[in-house]
């Protein structure tokens, strides 16, 4: 019985160690060194080489080593009848909330102005607004989005959330579906995106959305790069409709050196660090899922392929 590690971008070492500890009698192999293909029962994947999961007759589950599954699902050769499991927590929500909260505080407290003033040894207080005057909207209310919303609300910011189904989160004003989007945007001075990437959400951070926000708003993207229409974001910043953006994810990563985001004065670029997606925190969840499958129990985080998350 074999666990196959399948990633072009992540090191297998920590996972080999975790699996050896938890499943000492299973083999651990790294694609393309698959060994006997009919021995492979579980695949641990992150940005797998397209086609690498085809032709594995006894594959029982595809365990994604992160919360976002859009890259995994985009593989045309992905076996259709094998369940895809994603991380549902694994230590992601806390760091994501930290990043979002940092961005909100950075904008609300005018920190970019103060950093710039320091370079000129300039002592000047900027007009500030209290947290309660600074309304934040969180798009996406899964485990991550709910934590992001609650943590920002805990600092005194009025927080609303928006999702397809409109699930409720304590202390957060919830808007749902297509009809709920415009009222949600109209009240959100800072928009924090943690949506999954699906055909419905691709490009959602575009001109129409920015125009529905209050003038001078801010955008924080910790979802996926393809949520953003890059040219629309730059246009909204240049026109003053948006005042700033903090972006952690990009359609192409690493963000190409020539991309205008790097040098735009109102954009903060970070290199996909909002959450350490593959940290040791996620190991226990992957191990737990393999254990459940071995015992014949239902696994956690089963992805609905049609919905896309």
């Amino acid at each position: 019985m074999t666990i196959l590690f399948c990633s072009d971008s992540e090191p297998p070492g920590p996972w080999r160690l975790a699996c050896a500890r938890a499943f000492p009698r299973m083999a651990f192999r790294t694609w393309p060194d698959t060994g006997a293909r009919d021995e492979i029962r579980y695949a641990l994947v992150w940005q797998q080489p397209p086609g690498s999961l085809a032709g594995l007759p006894n594959l029982k589950a595809i365990l994604v080593l992160g919360a976002g599954v859009d890259a995994v699902l985009s593989d045309a050769a992905l076996p259709a009848d094998v369940p895809v499991l994603r991380l549902v927590d694994a230590g992601l929500p806390g760091p994501m909330a930290e990043y979002a909260l940092y961005a909100v505080l950075h904008f609300q407290r005018r920190m970019a102005d103060y950093f710039q003033q320091q370079r000129a040894a300039l002592w000047r207080r900027r007009e500030e607004m209290l947290a309660r005057q600074w309304r934040v909207g969180v798009m996406g209310l899964g485990v991550i989005g709910a934590t992001v919303a609650r943590r920002i609300a805990a600092q005194g910011f009025p927080v609303a959330g928006w999702s397809r189904s409109g699930k409720s989160v304590e202390g957060v004003e919830v808007h749902a579906g297509t009809a709920g989007l415009d009222p949600f945007l109209a009240r959100s001075r800072v928009l924090v995106n943690v949506l999954p990437l699906t055909s419905q959400t691709r490009g959602i951070l575009g001109g129409r959305t920015f125009a529905a926000m209050p003038r001078g708003g801010y955008v924080v993207n910790i979802g996926r790069g393809a949520h953003v229409v890059d040219a629309d974001l730059i246009a909204a910043l240049d026109s003053g409709q948006l005042a700033g953006a903090m972006l952690d994810v990009f359609e192409q990563e690493p963000l190409p050196v020539a991309h205008p985001f790097w040098r735009h004065p109102a954009i903060i670029v970070t290199p996909h660090v909002a959450a350490p997606t593959l940290a040791s925190e996620s190991e226990s969840q992957v191990v737990e899922n393999i254990r459940r499958l071995e015992r014949g129990e239902p696994p956690l985080g089963v992805v609905d392929r049609d919905r896309g998350y």
Copy 2:
């Protein structure tokens, strides 16, 4: 009956308005235009000109328009037998906590590195630590310090507090007095100072304190400038004992253009903006105290002049 406004650095306008609304039958005068000195019953003060409160025979209370009273008490001509009242909340704790939390997140999430990398269009993930591995120490556990400690703890950081008396704060490990200082410092990777300035705390952010912290620590000062021994801070940063500092208060404000803090690469300077000390939030508390005194009730925030806060 007259209220005298006495400040070299703050505009009287908002206070004149608040007093006219709350006490329409009292006169409002601005030093040095005192009118009949025996009419003056209340003095609203912030960095008053030394001697300006002498010779007011019917002064019933000195109402300080902030939480820190060190500047007021340093006036040798301050009437000895008139109670000094300070703001005990007035919306200060929330903004102070925001500032401190921003500083902690900025250091923990390596944001200075990412800002610098962006200038070079450099995509490189820095090693990060989880909040729970990043221990924060808050010096001073009054209303402000307790809020700062609780708000940082709410984001998953292990927080300890230190104060003279060691009052307890939920979810915060408390150390007390001289004996408790070294164990407190030894565990604190980030030190947040919100102490009042007294003869005991002056210079407390000096070489001895920095040396007792873990190597590579951080200092956040939102107390008073005179808590910091400037040369010791620079020496600790230059030796690597400290890795960074975020400072909002300075012995001389505005911080002189030639001061080395402005240009030190590991120091963030902000122009005393951690809390809007004189915001409308504080008006209701000053008004409430005058009302209490007019009704013969005990006021709030009575300063112990010997203790210094």
